[in-house]
Symmetry: C2
Subunit: 327 residues, 2 copies
Amino acid sequence: MDEYRGQKVLITGGLGFIGSNLAIRLVQTGASVTILDSFDPTCGANYFNIEPIRNDVEMVEGDSCDLALVRGLVRGKGYIFNLAGHVSHIESMEDPFADLQMNVVAPLTVLEASKHENREARIVYSGTRQAYGRPESLPLLETQVLKPIDVNGVNKLAGEWYHMVYYRAHGIRTISLRLVNTYGPRQLVKHAKQGFVGWFIKQAMVGAEIQVFGDGQQLRGFNYVDDVVDALLIAGANDSILGDYFNLGGADPIPLETFVKVLLSITGRGSYRIVPFPAERRAIDIGSVYTSFAKFNSATGWMPRVSLEEGLARTVDYYQRYQAHYW
Amino acid sequence: MDEYRGQKVLITGGLGFIGSNLAIRLVQTGASVTILDSFDPTCGANYFNIEPIRNDVEMVEGDSCDLALVRGLVRGKGYIFNLAGHVSHIESMEDPFADLQMNVVAPLTVLEASKHENREARIVYSGTRQAYGRPESLPLLETQVLKPIDVNGVNKLAGEWYHMVYYRAHGIRTISLRLVNTYGPRQLVKHAKQGFVGWFIKQAMVGAEIQVFGDGQQLRGFNYVDDVVDALLIAGANDSILGDYFNLGGADPIPLETFVKVLLSITGRGSYRIVPFPAERRAIDIGSVYTSFAKFNSATGWMPRVSLEEGLARTVDYYQRYQAHYW
């Protein structure tokens, strides 16, 4: 990733799970990194996430929806990773306006700031397969009509499509990756509101019983965070795939129960039980879902490289060392 | 439309083009109508629009994004027409945050208010074919992937999908109609920012030269506003089509140049000239586009009944009588 050496890079949401892993890699690569983060605890922001690079990044604690602030920050940047956002589907149903602010207003603010201040920057957005809603066929392809089934999915869809519009209408070089069940170090694992993966990992590590909703046979694809960081960097560096959107996804779909069994074999602790869906989760559940990343693979060669066993082992190791900062 | 007699109905954006025509029809039908309108002149709000019923409606001038206000207004209503919004594609590119407020926050506010106060109301949303973006084939069907090409299209898409989510997750009985080039009395015709139809009508009536962008052969479907009001009322009264979205559309696609010729034959004044697209409009132009309304027709029997000649004649007659309030 020589493209990033010596480059100025802005990461919104850089204290969060994906953003902090990306920031660490970029600093290692020799980039000059600025992080903008609102330090909203519901977003997974955690100062400890950037502990390895805390003296090497410019850290701005501020509102990603503050256009004046963001206009100042996008100036002179070569790359912008537009990652700030809420990730909780459940919370988006409880407080849809908070989700709207972070997932619709915030990404639009970055684009509008770039329109005014810096049309040369490459902007990479972190979309989500949640925007598809219930899959019409599997694996999910980018050609499926987007039919989000929760407020978070609607808002992330809007956030993504602003990027497409700003490319087409203003020539700003954008790209969106649709992320899928990312896991790994630096994820919020305190509670289950940001998805089951981090929560399951913590439950297993503390020796608790994991509740698997449904029948446990629903299929999912998983991406280890290092593979996602690879994808984001590749996306930002590739000028042949502008104004477009691409699924990420796991190499193989895995039944949820299998995921849990692999996890428990690594932790050597914890247990699981198959239980019926609670009503509020059933309302936004989508059954089996996994994506094809063939479009992104054929454009860039990217594919996930870290196996589930290896990724979970690294993740468990990380939280064992630093659990005081995450439990 | 006996379903509406004696019913309490809320119309957001009821001073605007579609909302005021709907309000007049509902009052004639014997409904008890409350209008909420922010009186934002960029939205086409015009007090004269409700002149025929001004003593027969409850008029609330207020912000459709004010959740406390809207919570009070949705209580006890049988039907809610969620029409408040910005309609200018050009303005949405110039001030995307204003468009976001009216097209994303406002419709979500109505839904969230209903979730808290009144889950029994039927909610009808006015979507737009603009959310499709450039057609992949013609006529446009509801199965086409939504690929909006301007900020207004993205925002209207989000506004619509909240309705789908609130139906599925909260059981609120919603429906969205995707409107297409509606024209008729009470449309804003002062400037061209809200679409070409009203602007062309005024230009013809004042004897000016109409500029037709492109080659004039781009096809469009048109709906006279009375047909759209029919569709909205039918949509609200039909409990078998919940949580779904339907195209409206004209009976036959018409080249833009033909539309102008019909118009000029009715006004007996004005002229036209074919001119190249200005850059800012070319960026969001989508060529020929017309929709199929077969899905809505097969669900409800609706079809447009007013011919272009008849609709334009009634429209020109209206503005001739009341032009002081619209020019």
